[in-house]
Symmetry: C2
Subunit: 245 residues, 2 copies
């Protein structure tokens, strides 16, 4: 049994997230369908984790096992030939049969883009959250840095999530100021709860708008109470950048 | 009669170009419809020129005349509230009643983006022409610079175009190397023929791929023969950046 590792870029705009669904188009569903066309086999693709509806990825990682004579280069070319142009396989390699894209993931990095200007953008609007009022980047960055370290992130988890363990270790959390009114929040952690990045970004935005102080991040973390955190930032600003193993 | 000047950004992906059509969605059509909603008047919007189906703009310019008590700020806000999010009014100001967006245009600047990498992009694929094989940027830039000055650009005009005068003055033409495998062709001229930028870029790409030499640009210009130039580059890499008056 061969085991293949894929690195995948996708524009999530038209998809109902990563995870296969019966009736809706998903990234996993599209790739599994292409794998079936190539191999004639019903192959299950294991992603490093789900991404929600509308979220993008530059470096989602997945693996699949397959009893095949085909090599990784054949899968790489055939997948890119078959997949729609909003899903691109960036690499395909054969890996140890024990490699598991989810269980072996050591850390993931997300970036969230905000376009902060009084007038919205038409070009690229599908890749950033438009915020009209001026943001205080320094306050946001101060708050972002308070997320570093090991914390219970339950306050930033989607309410009603069934997960039991909500402690995660954040190894990097900062605001990166870009050109042309774009600003980006980057976070690296050993794992993420459902909506965690978007709930953090929604809270940071409220800090940037002066509705909260940077220090409130500490109280929110301590509270473990979703209602203490800010709004959920929209999906379309979020990118899964890379997964480390 | 008041005269208003608009600067407009749009993502041309979903439109059949600038010019109003009976059945298809166009930029001009969308804005005129919004102007009708705001003013109750059938207003004709005069663009600096047409852009073709699928072409984008960061700074298209247009004007419209209207017998109204409304000021430019009201039009600015109401247009942006009514227009779909792939069309954005960047500014609206009152101008002299003689101002005409097409006749008074002194120069226009276009940019054409190419993504040059062995693997395509999913994110941002709607804003750049994907070319898989390595391009020789220096050769392309050398060729681009030969376009500067006053020339008959008939060889780069869409065949069958009815226009009589085909001489134009190019004040800037160069390749700009960007980050992350993007490269951009920028051209400024006192006017453009139909498909001129896309036919130039198609020719430059053939030079970059080594199928032609940079010097051939001179022969193509002299020939005034469309069949001597290269392919027409696809619409989706092209942006109208600004119009000078």
């Amino acid at each position: 049994m061969k085991n293949f590792k894929l690195i995948i870029e996708y524009d999530g705009t038209c998809y109902h997230g990563w995870q296969r669904q019966k009736t809706e188009q998903t990234i996993q569903g599209e790739i599994e369908q292409a794998l079936f066309t190539i191999s004639g086999l019903k192959i299950t693709l294991t992603g490093s984790g789900r991404t929600d509806s509308g979220v993008h990825a530059l470096g989602q990682t997945a693996n699949f096992k397959c009893d095949t004579h085909l090599g990784p280069d054949v899968f790489f070319k055939a997948l890119n030939a078959l997949l729609p142009d909003d899903i691109v396989i960036k690499s395909c390699e054969m890996v140890d049969e024990n490699f598991h894209a989810r269980f072996n993931a050591k850390s993931k990095t997300y970036r969230y883009w905000i376009y902060n200007h009084s007038i919205p953008k038409a070009v690229g609007r599908q890749y950033a959250w438009f915020i009209r009022h001026p943001l205080n980047y320094d306050a946001m960055n101060m708050a972002a840095r308070l997320l570093s370290g090991t914390h219970d992130f339950k306050a930033f988890e989607a309410s009603g999530s069934p997960r039991s363990g909500t402690e995660r270790t954040v190894t990097k959390a900062e605001m990166i100021r870009s050109t042309n009114h774009y600003v980006c929040f980057e976070i690296e952690a050993n794992g993420f709860l459902r909506f965690m990045v978007r709930n953090i970004v929604g809270t940071l935005a409220e800090i940037g708008l002066g509705k909260r102080t940077a220090d409130e991040i500490k109280d929110i973390l301590r509270s473990c109470d979703r209602s203490k955190a800010g709004v959920t930032a929209p999906a379309h600003g979020l990118f899964l950048i890379r997964v480390e193993y």
